[in-house]
């Protein structure tokens, strides 16, 4: 079962985990990325192009399914305005064996950072707001998989 979603609504991790688990899998790995309230950040806004994000996530899921034996995959990305502590992204990957579940989770979270079309704007307690610049480190991590 592959489930991919991009949406402005909050991500209910426990509910997604329960739905993902319904089949029962030998090994499940997950990654949860949350908004960090560093440096007085009060809002993280993610802008996106709906067609490009949906296509990007679908392609990532398809690549992962072609590369590893997957029992189930859940890939949910939130967009729009978020507060510190909110879940931005959830990856749940299950496989009969642990190495695959861990590898696909790491692959997807690395790839998400570079392959999915999202733009971040940070707003701070003092009123400053700025669009985040591209970071080289993300590309270096993602290229390990090529």
């Amino acid at each position: 079962m592959i489930r991919v979603d991009v949406r402005p609504e909050p991500i209910d991790v426990a509910a997604e985990l329960a739905a993902h688990d319904a089949g029962g899998h030998g090994a499940s790995a997950s990654f949860i990325g949350r908004v960090r309230g560093d440096d007085g950040l009060v809002e993280l806004f993610l802008d996106h192009h709906p067609v490009l994000t949906a296509r990007g996530l679908d392609e990532l899921a398809t690549q992962a399914a072609a590369r590893w034996r997957l029992g189930a995959l859940t890939l949910i990305h939130r967009v729009g305005a978020m507060a510190p502590g909110d879940t931005i992204v959830l990856v749940l990957a299950s496989s009969p064996h642990r190495a695959e579940a861990l590898a696909v989770t790491e692959y997807l979270i690395d790839r998400l950072k570079t392959d999915v079309m999202l733009w971040k704007r940070e707003t701070f307690a003092d009123g400053r707001a700025a669009w985040v610049e591209q970071r080289e480190g993300d590309h270096a991590r993602a290229e390990r998989w090529d």
Partner: protein
């Protein structure tokens, strides 16, 4: 044809999208960006640094030399900053 703007390109343009009739001689995405940069003040602000602009045609990423042709939408935006 429709142009969609994202992130700080949208903020500087002051609009999320607009319908335009391409002037004669505007064939590629690069031509379009150069034209927008000279069209008005907000365009000059948004497209002052063309190397910082990325584009998608019909939902697929393209380079500056991509021919717009009869695409319904050209999307213009900064490099992505990840998930």
């Amino acid at each position: 044809m429709r142009i969609a703007y994202f992130a700080w390109v949208r903020e500087r343009m002051g609009i999320a999208e607009e319908a335009v009739e391409l002037p004669t001689g505007i064939a590629t995405v690069g031509d379009l960006v150069r034209w927008l940069a000279t069209r008005d003040a907000r365009g000059a602000r948004a497209f002052a640094e063309p190397h910082r602009i990325r584009a998608a045609l019909g939902g697929a990423m393209v380079g500056a030399d991509a021919v717009i042709g009869d695409a319904e939408e050209v999307a213009l935006f900064p490099p992505v900053t990840g998930g």
